[in-house]
Amino acid sequence: MTAVSDTIDQVKGLTDQKYKYGFVTEIESETAPKGLNEDVVRFISARKAEPEWLLDWRLRAYRHWLTMVEPGWAKVSYPPIDYQDAFYYSAPKTKAGPKSLDEVDPELLRTYEKLGIPLKEQELLAGVEPRIAVDAVFDSVSVATTFKAKLEEKGIIFCPISEAVANHPDLVRRYLGSVVPYSDNFFATLNSAVFTDGSFVYIPKGVRCPMELSTYFRINAANTGQFERTLIIADDDSVVSYLEGCTAPKRDENQLHAAVVELVALDRAQIKYSTVQNWYPGDEQGRGGIYNFVTKRGACRGVASKISWTQVETGSAITWKYPSCILQGDDSVGEFYSVAITNHHQQADTGTKMIHIGRNTRSTIVSKGISAGQAQNTYRGQVKILPKATGARNHTQCDSLLIGDRCGAHTVPYIESRNRTARVEHEATTAKISEDQLFYCRQRGLSAEDAVSLIVNGFCKEVLKELPMEFAVEAQKLVGISLEGSVG
């Protein structure tokens, strides 16, 4: 029937406009010399006028990194990365670094506007309570942070980590590397040596952060790795919700993104960390795209503290990430809600680790993996109950959805329980989007693309509802967009 080929054409048309963030900003940049060596590490540290202790820490990491080998256990494959063939620092050229939003390069403001990221504080001028504060990281540096002053009224620190090193050295020194040590793993160690910027958050005792905090990462420069480092500390009885978003231009070569995120929750503190990951995924043939190799870990140090990770992973050529919780404090709670969508030739190996150390610690894992095209999607999760974790509980729900028959879904749970009173439950399902479902939707008037988007959004609902309201709608759209071209 001709109708079928028409649909395929429509679908193809859509696919080409799929990644709307793929543009490049023309801006003059300052870069470090190509390649990686101690001088480059010193160059980065000097650019940021860092104290001696931090340079030492970076150098220790670098020297340790030289002794490490890239991990090979994940179910992803890619040609060897030449770490000498990339730049490790790229910053838009500015005079001194902007003091206020008015001084930010208008070209950068336009870039973020095009990406739909508000870098203005006009909401405040209109007398409306702001709902979100943004730290914008462009290549290796933070270019703007909004509502800083407003947050300072409550004693909240929200600033680029490089600024925190200068202004709050005690806090940074105390917590940096305390959750993810510099020797942790190949990519985290590399990050420790060359990290450039990222966000720093401190919520003082008893404070509930009045707005969403958000960092928006943009890779712009070609051939440049992005190594940001985020550190969030929630002091006793505080509450914070933080969101991270990211995009990159379309380029034919792969780019490395190796970030580290460390969260620390003290007594009864709550941190909600949400990610909408939309790095450039490469084209339909699998050319280009970001290698997203990140280490995210939270420590529930205090009693009855809570860390909740929510991630919607739609971008990147390869995703390698396991946001984890170390449940140290008694009665602490860890959560991991994940949607990982892979289409075309994307590969994702993602999941979590829940390490139960304290008594009555609880964790919940809900993972939704969606695979289309020739993509591979792996859930890899570890639940570990240590001997003192009496009364610990974990529930894992792990669902995979396949679209078409050339993609793959894999579930790799590791469960280790060393306390008899602990309860660990694991459920897993794999399903396909059926012809019946698609036809039913289309009979009612939905296009094939809209039908897939609707069905997948339904499949992911449990996770998407965990996102802050402001981003839920955006994430739903993204789910649809990232699956364009998956049927027809």
């Binding site: 036809f439 939707c441 289309r442 009979q443």
Partner: protein
């Protein structure tokens, strides 16, 4: 309004429909009766545009336009609605979300303004009242955990919202007890109107005492074997399909 001429269709090499001729005018309700396996669902799927069937001969037009050239969603916009024999479950998607997406999909294709959440809600309230249903079903995931009766009622509710030119009801009576059957039939009757044609497909006469057809056709061996008025249904009920060379214990 609906014109089916000499329709032949196969699945793979196997012919299933072997020359169907049928003409339904606006405002009419036609029943298609036939034994299991006679091709009733095949006909309804072909009208709605399901893939997997090869049309080897013949034509189908709705309001003079070629239906077979259109994708399923285009047919929906042209006014074709199929109430499924086995309605499909879509976990996690509420009926309201599904119906709003469907309705707006159809409206967009027709060049009409899409409805916002408020307008949609108002419309569904009106339709539910018209069908004597509560809107409780709208909040639940599409057909998930629905009883047989609820599934069929949900199909009728969808039909009411999408307001089709041609409604094809495939064994809407199957699996319903008498009370559920009455509710569904009342719903369908409420949707009869001068601008709409209906094709009611059923194995049994039972449904046709509630939805009284203008014409009855007997489908067997891939062809319409006989046509007549509503009395034909009663006759079939008494005599079975034996005279059409079908041996059925049913």
């Amino acid at each position: 309004m609906l014109e089916i001429t000499n329709l032949h269709a196969s699945v793979g090499d196997r012919p299933i429909l072997k020359g169907i001729d049928l003409s339904v005018q606006a405002g009419q309700v036609h029943a298609i009766m036939g034994p299991n396996g006679s091709g009733k669902s095949t006909l309804s799927y072909i009208l709605a545009g399901r893939e997997g069937y090869t049309i080897t001969e013949g034509a189908v037009t709705l309001d003079g336009r070629d239906l077979l050239a259109q994708a399923p969603e285009e047919r929906a916009a042209s006014g074709v609605f199929l109430a499924f024999q086995y309605p499909v479950e879509i976990p996690g998607v509420s009926n309201a979300t599904f119906l709003k997406a469907a309705l707006n999909g159809v409206r967009r294709r027709r060049g009409e303004k899409e409805l916002d959440a408020m307008e949609f809600l108002k419309l569904t309230r009106v339709k539910c009242r018209q069908l004597g249903m509560t809107d409780e079903m709208l909040k639940r995931a599409v057909n998930v955990g629905f009883s047989g009766g609820e599934k069929k009622r949900n199909e009728v509710l969808q039909m009411a919202l999408l307001d089709p030119r041609l409604a094809v009801l495939d064994e809407t009576d199957s699996g319903l007890d008498i009370d559920a059957l009455r509710i569904v039939a009342d719903g369908v009757n409420a949707l009869r109107g001068p601008d709409r044609a209906m094709l009611v497909i059923t194995h049994y006469q039972r449904l046709l005492s509630y939805i009284v057809p203008d014409r009855v056709h007997v489908l067997a061996h891939g062809r319409i074997q006989r046509s007549g008025g509503k009395e034909l249904a009663l006759e079939l009920e008494a005599r079975g399909y034996a005279e059409f060379g079908v041996d059925e214990a049913a």
